[in-house]
């Protein structure tokens, strides 16, 4: 049972490492955009379809919550932007529960380059061949000089640098095959990206509405207490970044680990309660991100007089 904190690289695209979570994120965005464009032509006022009613229910519910929190005028302007975060996060969280995420695996790309004599193909065979490859390398310790030659081989160094192989006492050991799809929010890169955009938008909207007055929240030298509060506000901006990132990452990644452990120690229907728990947690975390971003933006655009 191999759990990897970092997302695994699938291939390089013009200098960008495309990982399994990046691929899944792109797929989610493409599907949602396609759905939104197609569905926008089918909105009817007279006799709406049940899908339209369901989506309206979600949007109205969340908009009601945001009006409760930040007032009607601000909700009118901010809701669509923050709702986009909610849609992407909830779909990413639930994406990790789909049956395509675990079983479709492939082997680490660099391992194939550095060990061509073991010719196995990608796909579902990865795990079976993985065991036989380990057996072969158990005997590789007798061929020490061959390993030393390999150790200076640039493809082997790439393999180790990209975390595809491990240099151990048995020689170059391959890591187990990894899944091709992975929830984007179960990767620190994905949640860091979301929180960077969110926190940047807080400051951007603060500047847009308040112009120079926004800086007065952080750098207020009228009296020492206000200056100290300003410094604390700066520190809490870092805290927002960290907390947005790790709350979402921790919940979703720990959920994946939990499902992996439960699946490996039990079988069949016993995993159903945990899948339902993950559905619930995914929704709650998206909702929390939505509400926190809404509250922080509304605090940032609020002038001191209120």
């Amino acid at each position: 049972m191999e759990i990897s904190l970092a997302a695994e690289k699938l291939f390089d695209f013009q200098g960008i490492e495309v990982t399994n979570s990046l691929l899944s994120g792109v797929i989610i965005v493409a599907l949602v955009s396609l759905f939104a464009v197609i569905f926008s032509f089918r909105i009817k006022m007279e006799s709406p379809s049940s899908l339209q009613l369901f989506l309206e229910m979600i949007i109205d519910g969340l908009k009601g919550v945001s009006i409760d929190i930040i007032g009607k005028k601000r909700a009118q302007r901010l809701f669509s932007f923050v709702f986009t975060f909610f849609v992407f996060i909830v779909l990413s969280n639930w994406f990790g529960l789909l049956p395509i995420v675990g079983p479709i695996v492939r082997d680490h790309p660099h391992y194939e380059e550095s060990h061509e004599e073991i010719g196995y193909e990608e796909g579902g065979h990865g795990e079976e061949y993985g065991d036989s490859a380990k057996d072969e390398h158990g005997e590789g310790s007798e061929e020490n000089h061959a390993d030393e030659e390999h150790a200076e081989d640039p493809t082997v160094m790439n393999c180790i640098a990209d975390r595809d192989c491990i240099l151990s006492v048995n020689g170059i050991e391959k890591k187990e095959a990894f899944p091709v799809f992975r929830a984007p929010t179960s990767d620190v890169s994905g949640t860091l990206a979301l929180s960077l955009v969110g926190v940047f938008s807080i400051h951007y909207l603060g500047f847009t509405v308040l112009r120079g007055g926004y800086l007065k929240k952080f750098f207020n030298f009228s009296d020492p207490i206000a200056a100290f509060v300003g410094i604390l506000e700066l520190i809490s901006e870092i805290g927002k970044l960290v907390s947005f990132t790790f709350r979402l990452f921790g919940n979703i990644f720990a959920g994946e680990v939990l499902l992996l452990v439960i699946t490996s120690i039990s079988f069949g229907l016993a995993t159903i309660p945990f899948l339902l728990l993950e559905v619930f947690v995914g929704f709650i975390q998206a909702f929390v991100f939505f509400m926190l971003l809404l509250v922080f933006i509304s605090l940032a655009v609020q002038s001191h007089d209120h």
Partner: protein
Amino acid sequence: MEVEAAKSIAMAIAIAVGAIGPGIGIGMLGSSALQAIGRNPEAEGKIRTSMILAIAFAEAIAIYALVVALIIKFV
């Protein structure tokens, strides 16, 4: 002591101690929210929303501890 054994013990201690504070905090949040609802049943929606927000903040601390535990074991 072997590295693997130390890692397992460290991971267990990290998450066990890290869950104490948020557990107490979430319990206190829930109890005060319930008291507030009991006193003023009309404001249930607003109270529930604020409670969920505050619980998410408290739970984030437990999640930090969990992430550290996972990093100890698997990295």
